[in-house]
Amino acid sequence: MAYVPLADQELELHHPHSWVTKYVWSQDHKVIAIQYGGTAIAVGLVALVLSLLMRMQLGFPETFDLIDPNSYYQSVTMHGMIMVIYLLTALFLGGFGNYLIPLMCGARDMVFPFMNMLSYWVYLVSVIILLASFFVGGGPTGAGWTLYPPQTSMAGTPGHDMGIVLMLLSLAVFIVAFTMGGLNYVVTVLQYRCRGLTMMRLPLAVWGIFVATVLGLFAFPALLVAAIMMLFDTLLGTSFFMPAVIESGTALDYDGGSPILFQHLFWFFGHPEVYIVALPAFGLVSDVLSTHARKNIFGYRMMVWAIIAIGLLSFIVWAHHMYVSGMHPYFGFFFATTTLIIAVPTALKVYNWVLTLWEGDIRMNAPMYFAIGFIFTFIHGGLTGLFLGNVVIDLPLSDTYFVVAHFHMVMGVSPILVLFAALYHWFPKMSGRMYHEGMAKLHFWCTFLGTYAIYLPMHYLGIHGVPRRYYALGTTEFMVPATQDANTAITIAALFVGISQLLFFINVFWSLRNGEKADPNPWGANTLEWQTPDTPPIHGNWGDKLPTVYRWAYDYSVPGAHEDFIPQNTPESVEPTVDEEHFDPDQDQSKADL
């Protein structure tokens, strides 16, 4: 039987008949995206509150009686795990991946909508299991978000009985959910693009989400295996990760396991995870910058190859998280080298973003504020990464606030600024209404300046040797007297940033009711999701006929065109083609025929 591309096939769509199948058990990728996004943001708020509790303790020790040392460790653990996996991964891939992939590819839905729906519900189960650990005896695990054995299972660690079991179980369930969704995203990008949309015409947002999902599919298995083995250690008393340990004078029933093995498995997942979060952010921010600067993205091909190169390299750098764990020195040499090589494609992307802005006709809308803010925080966090990637500099800085400041800048603040940029940018399409511009800009300044006020001082604390994960610092000689003052200032800034996030929620809920009705394409953007017949798009996305793509996604400010943008589905006969530099017209014609 001859092969017919999906875009040319008649597809049966699952048509909802009742409110429940339309909004609850929905197979529509847009509804699933909003379910994913809503759940991720809700659980992220829990993590935000946990971080504020920790900051209250650090900033004003012995003033509040909110948490004790045990719940401090539990807060550290849950804050980290929720933010990295249940908020950022789920929101970027489950939320934006689900919403944007089919729309930007000109598809009616994901290739396997039923499994896509299942992915969300399994994710919800994993979130419920995770949150359940707050309510079991002993509370959630307090082993730190990296869950290093042997302390995860030792009696001194809070949540060493039920908490850790629920955490591992929740991670395993999350991985199942991610795999079901991830397979959909990857295959939809590969096989469900509309006519004319070649891989090299895809918007960078799709490229970022696509490569990140591939990373996830190959990195999460290591975490799954680590979780299963640790569950065995905890529940069955096996000794995969547990060496012979003596606890309070009694030898435990463990023998001969390897704690370092866990670290290798964890970071083989953990480092790609950084890019699972960062690559979608890179992609989304590229589209936001290009649209609001009214200029094509600088070096599109380079940007794509940089995303792929970063993705590949991210699998061979994991042990730079383990310089102090005890490794052969040559390993440190190898992993430091690969780590620093990643800086090359990453720096290339930063230069290209800046060059995209260069002489652009920049519209300072709220998404653009956040996108430019991201460039600042990302450069900042990236540069401290160069310090920590070197073994000799990492050794003294390990486990200090310098590390905390680094990863919060690079994979906390930066992706979250992109998330807000993207949420404001696509809000008109998702809801059909405009957000309140003034409130959004106020939200930006509070968040941007506030996070700098939090994390900049932390670098200094780290250089002074202030250790992280300490419930109370007390007084020691090597810490300068101003340490406590700095901590107090950081806490005030953190409370300010935390509270100012309310602006976002007020803005969203206010705009849903009272916002101006949004234009189908308020930003004058080229990508397909802005060209849908309905705003917000209805089930099936495209009405009777799928779109056909004639050009790349970045034809902004083309000389001789009627407007300063040419949507991707505008034929060459209507508007000039200018991307000869990137596409050979002859070759292009043959593909349009195909």
């Binding site: 039987m1 092969y3 591309p5 999906l6 875009a7 290739v111 396997f112 795999t179 397979l183 959909n184 990857v186 295959v187 590969l190 096989q191 469900y192 693009r193 006519r195 004319g196 949309l197 070649t198 891989m199 090299m200 599919l217 190959f218 990195a219 999460f220 298995p221 290591a222 799954l224 295996v225 680590a226 299963i228 083995m229 065995f232 069955l236 008393g237 096996t238 000794s239 995969f240 060496p243 012979a244 029933d253 023998d255 001969g256 396991g257 390897s258 093995l261 290798h264 498995l265 083989f268 043959s590 593909k591 025929d593 195909l594």
Partner: protein
């Protein structure tokens, strides 16, 4: 698709064809989405088994006690003399045979011979179920007669039992899921689900089945022989 375009895009052979195919920046690749999805899933699953096996090799190095002699533990006696690894050898043979019947099922599927397709799928499922059955026998023998537990065993390193139950258990789950999947596919073929769509589903299920076999070969080599 116009005739001219079709010829110009016809793949050439060998390495050149491979390079052409991957660099052509095509609109879509010539593979059904279900098959692409299965391939990607299998690569992901390969990472899972690779992590399991690397983890096993690692604890085998770190454990402080001697590693038990597998060939003696997994020996069965027929008429007095113990034959090392005989049960595992039979299990391996059964599983490899099932790969053969699966390949036949795929072949008859593409010939649209529904009856033979279903027959060979059921034969594959039968061999798979036999494999799981023998595994159940192996497990119960080790647990009940030899006293092997996940947390310890009378022969030496406790990790031996841990790895054994974890890895063969995980693989056994894959085989069991495969048997259910195959029977489900057979039922849908019987019901005429694929008469219009084509029988690619048999090949997709076959991919999964061959993968499970291949993984077993590695488990056999690394755990039972090494």
């Amino acid at each position: 698709m116009s005739e001219a375009a079709a010829t110009s895009m016809a793949p050439s052979d060998g390495v050149t064809g491979l390079v052409d195919d991957w660099t052509a920046d095509k609109q879509t690749y010539h593979v059904p989405w279900g098959k692409a999805m299965m391939w990607i899933f299998l690569v992901s699953d390969t990472f899972i088994f690779t992590c399991f096996l690397t983890g096993y090799l690692n604890v085998r190095m770190t454990t402080t006690q001697p590693w038990p002699p597998q060939s003696e533990i997994f020996a069965l006696s027929f008429g007095g003399a113990p034959i090392p690894l005989i049960l595992i050898a039979i299990m391996t043979f059964v599983l490899i045979t099932s790969s053969g019947t699966m390949a036949l099922a795929v072949n008859y599927g593409y010939r649209r011979d529904k009856f033979r397709t279903i027959m060979f799928i059921c034969a594959t499922a039968f061999f798979g179920a036999t494999f799981v059955g023998m595994q159940v026998y192996e497990w119960s023998k080790l647990i009940l007669e030899e006293g092997v537990r996940p947390w310890g065993n009378p022969f030496g390193a406790p990790q031996f039992g841990s790895v054994f139950f974890m890895v063969t258990g995980f693989h056994g789950l894959h085989v069991s899921a495969g048997v259910i999947y195959l029977l489900w596919v057979a039922r849908r073929i019987w019901a005429g689900h694929y008469d219009k769509k084509g029988f690619e589903i048999v090949e997709i299920a076959g991919l999964y089945w061959h993968f499970v076999d291949l993984v077993w070969v590695f488990i056999f080599a690394f755990f039972y022989l090494l």
